[in-house]
Amino acid sequence: MLFKQLSEYSQPKMGVLSENQKNALHSASLEILQRTGVSVRLDDTRNRLAKAGCQVDNDRVFIPERLIEWALNQHPKHVVLCDRNATPAMALEGRNCYFGTGSDTPFVIDINSGLHRSAVIADIENVSRLADALHNLDFLMCMGIASDVRPEISDLYHFQAMVSNTIKPIVFTAWNASNLEAILRMAETVAGSLENLLRYPFVALYAEPTAPLIHSQIGCEKLEVICRLGLPLVYTPGLITGASSPVSHAGAIVVANAEILSGLLITQLINPGTPVIAGGGGMMTMDMHSMIASYGAPEFMFDWCSLREMGAFYGLPVFGFAGVSDALIFDQQAGIEGALWTLISALSGGNLIHDVGYLESGLTTSYEMIVAMDETIGLVKRFMQGMLVNNDTLAINTIASVGPGGHFLDVPHTLDHFRENWRPDIFCHSNRPDWNEAGASPLGDRALRKVKTILSQHKPEPLPQHVTENIKSIINNATSRLGRMD
């Protein structure tokens, strides 16, 4: 055997920043934290920062470098989310990529009428079921904000809808600290106990600072609740460059990075060792004509890649974007932008990559987009497997035995390996006559058909009866508390 010693995978990757640039962005972020500071709008949190050695002036907190260094040493580098059955599902580290749906859109495109309408609880149940069935989606985030439940506690209904319809890990949002506590009680019920939930966390909170450079009161209250328990959370910025940050790549990254580092410090001061997905985040580009927060802009893609590299520079798990577009319907633009994002996220190496299915810069969810992007993710995942080079894959003996002019169609080596190749499900690899015969349908039709098939057939693993009952009573309690307040 010629190459017996060698067995090595190549890994496709891309990078956009030099080491010097990373150091400069880091220094500039420290400069902002030390002399511009951040606004922290909750007394408790501000007091923690003051006690740790920050200067405080009203709500403004000035953070010294040594505290940032301290925080960077506290947070865990090995962050795992499990599924609902306590099986570890995602190791959010290194260049591991995991994909999930996007969150909280006000609108959805109806799969029966094709009309744009407000999202309702049934959509959240459906998308959860869809994501449960789709093989390339690794986690779930709530697709919309339901317009048909009490808005004060819609987050509770969202969590119920999600956890009842998928076993995949869930990244959830909460409107305030008391709703967060209620949702965590639901998660605890599902896990069996708080100890189980902590040991096998299947949920992570998503929260964010208020750009530019504010840690809001409600945001800090949520951080206090989740970090005290030590459960995982995402805490990443949501900038619109040119509006809530400088328009230049570097300036935008400095603002985002300062939010990330100060946010990380807050989480670690509340409870050192809390797992935080703090790298990455939204860097939407303001379109200076339409005024939309563009998700399909190349500047956003580049800024995100930069932020992901800063995350890696600090050893932080990174939150990312895929399958997202500014298009208003599921059309060619949606496919192009969604696919570009998916490939870029994977090549760059984001860890928890969300927003699959987003149209209209985060305002509308499309079922077809979710399914088409699941397929895209499958393709990208295959690409990302790279190449294994060893004695077997070099296939020297096979090439020798076929020789010049022969073929490889039925040789054992092909039989052994051809199934490793990716095959499409709804993308077209047909010849034209077959495609004609099958109805000559465009991708959107095939995607919609797949959505409908899954929704009519897929039955997610149900929760035990008593868990369902407990969840219901948590919601009932919350509802009656609201009643009294009214």
């Binding site: 317009s147 808005p151 409600i218």
Partner: protein, 217 residues
């Protein structure tokens, strides 16, 4: 057309804030009527800016510095306009509703309204219904603008309209609402007077309604 008008027009279109200020002061010294400077200089300039924006020859940041120049010129003119008895363009109270921190859209609407000559009082974000109502009583605006970016805070728009109603001031103001999840349909449902999908449409709407409260500048 007087040279002064042309120069003011140019300063505003170019977003030259100090230039606009100085030209307006000098022209007043030179005895030109404030009302004429407003119409022939400032407003004509902002109309041009609007046209260029629609055409795609000018972008938001450029438009906003023009608006700043307009505002600066207008603040010098204001006392003279009062003396001349010129009707004010209108006063607006704006804010993001309770529980909502999104302010970029609201800020854009504010700046664009100012660019059109409106006097805008910005109450900020997370503004409770009672605070809006109080402000209506205090400032007697022509228009109240409510911004909400969350399905969960949209209902505060309804609560705010009710709070303004409770103080008996509902019929003295026109209420316009906006923000990404908001629709025309929703505006009708909660009894607002209007809805605008973006800042330029908000300005067009505001210009089109008759103003009664702030009689003179």
């Amino acid at each position: 057309m007087k040279d002064e008008y042309e120069m003011i027009f140019k300063a505003v279109v170019e977003g030259n804030v100090e230039g606009a200020e100085k030209l307006v002061s000098d022209s007043l010294m030179g005895g030109i009527m404030a009302g004429e400077l407003l119409n022939q200089g400032l407003i004509r300039a902002m109309d041009e800016v609007g046209t260029r924006f629609e055409r795609g020859d000018m972008y938001i940041p450029e438009m906003l510095v023009s608006a700043k120049a307009m505002k600066a010129g207008l603040s010098i003119l204001r006392p003279y306009l009062v003396k001349e008895g010129i009707p004010a363009i209108g006063r607006v109270i704006i804010g993001t509703v309770k529980g909502d921190m999104h302010d970029i859209g609201k800020n854009l609407v504010t700046m664009m309204l100012e660019g059109a000559g409106f006097e805008v009082i910005d109450l900020g974000t997370d503004v409770a219904p009672e605070k809006f109502a109080e402000a209506v009583r205090k400032y007697s605006p022509d228009i109240v603008g409510l911004s909400a970016l969350l399905t969960t805070t949209m209902q505060q728009m309804k609560n705010t309209i009710e709070a303004i109603d409770d103080l008996g001031t509902r019929d003295q103001v026109k209420i316009i609402i906006g923000g990404a999840p908001v629709t025309q349909e929703y505006s009708e449902k909660i009894g607002a007077d209007g809805y605008a999908a973006d800042a330029s449409k908000a300005v067009n709407w505001a210009k089109a309604i008759p103003h009664s409260n702030s009689k003179v500048f």
